[in-house]
Amino acid sequence: MMAELLTHVLVAYVLLTVGSWQIDGLTPRWVPIGMAGAAIPDLVKVGILVDERTVEALLGFPFSYGPISTIGGVVVIAAGITLCFTEDRPRVFGLLVAGGTLSLVLDGLRMYADGQASFWLYPIWWRPPTPSLYVTSDPRVTAVAVVVAAGVFLADRDASDAPSERR
């Protein structure tokens, strides 16, 4: 029930790449970290591979994958991924959380039949109102993301080729 992962990571790519044109510390190596962060809420789809009921049977208590697609879950998973890095961890963590939050915000703009999004602010139990802009399986959303990302990729390549600045 979410904008698919490609759209999430492409939106992160576009924002971070454009941001890197202005912000000195935001070099190309940080872009895939933010993109990976944008994919964190989509890990909730692990439920397709391992059913919640199977996990409940293993644990012996009720369980839901739900928190993965929430602010609380993104922060915890981002922290875990951050510990897999040997250097620059604060910035890794910051970009993972920023990417994950971006995806949650995008998902919060989707259509919900009663006009309110999911509990994506968990541990705050509140469903923010949604402007109901799109449904996730709409290929036009993906198409727009691909076209904009391709444009940014080309602009970024030209900027990198320019003789003057940039590392």
Partner: protein, 157 residues
Amino acid sequence: MRPGVRVLGVVLLGLLLVGMGSHYDANYENHWPYPTGDALESDYETHVGEQVFVSGTVQAVDRGNETVEILVETEQGELPLTVSGVSRDVQPGGALQVYGTVRPDTHLTADNVVVVNSAGSSRTFKYAVSLIGALLVVVLFFRHWRVDRDDIGFEVK
């Protein structure tokens, strides 16, 4: 931070995530403003007349009566519901959100319907495209980062 400390941290965060999964599951029903699929499944008739918001997979479409048969996933299995008032074009295999009223005999009258997937094929599209997204992240990542075997973890290339 030594690798051992980081591994311990990952384990603790994993346990925290499992704890959150349990907390979320235990509290969801208290915060969800409608009867859940589980509640409908276990005691349907007591919820007749209430507003409900369910998601389900389309089983069958009856164009003559403008009804759609959906299956709602519950803890016990799948609950079949007949939804009337669906004017949107859907096919079996598609996914719907239904906001409506509970009627007797596992029947819902829809006030608003969102077609999440119009057919099973749109789900396939979503997963295929998501896979491309995941590959893109992995490829871009390893252009700038590599595995540090001594320290166990990722480092800048």
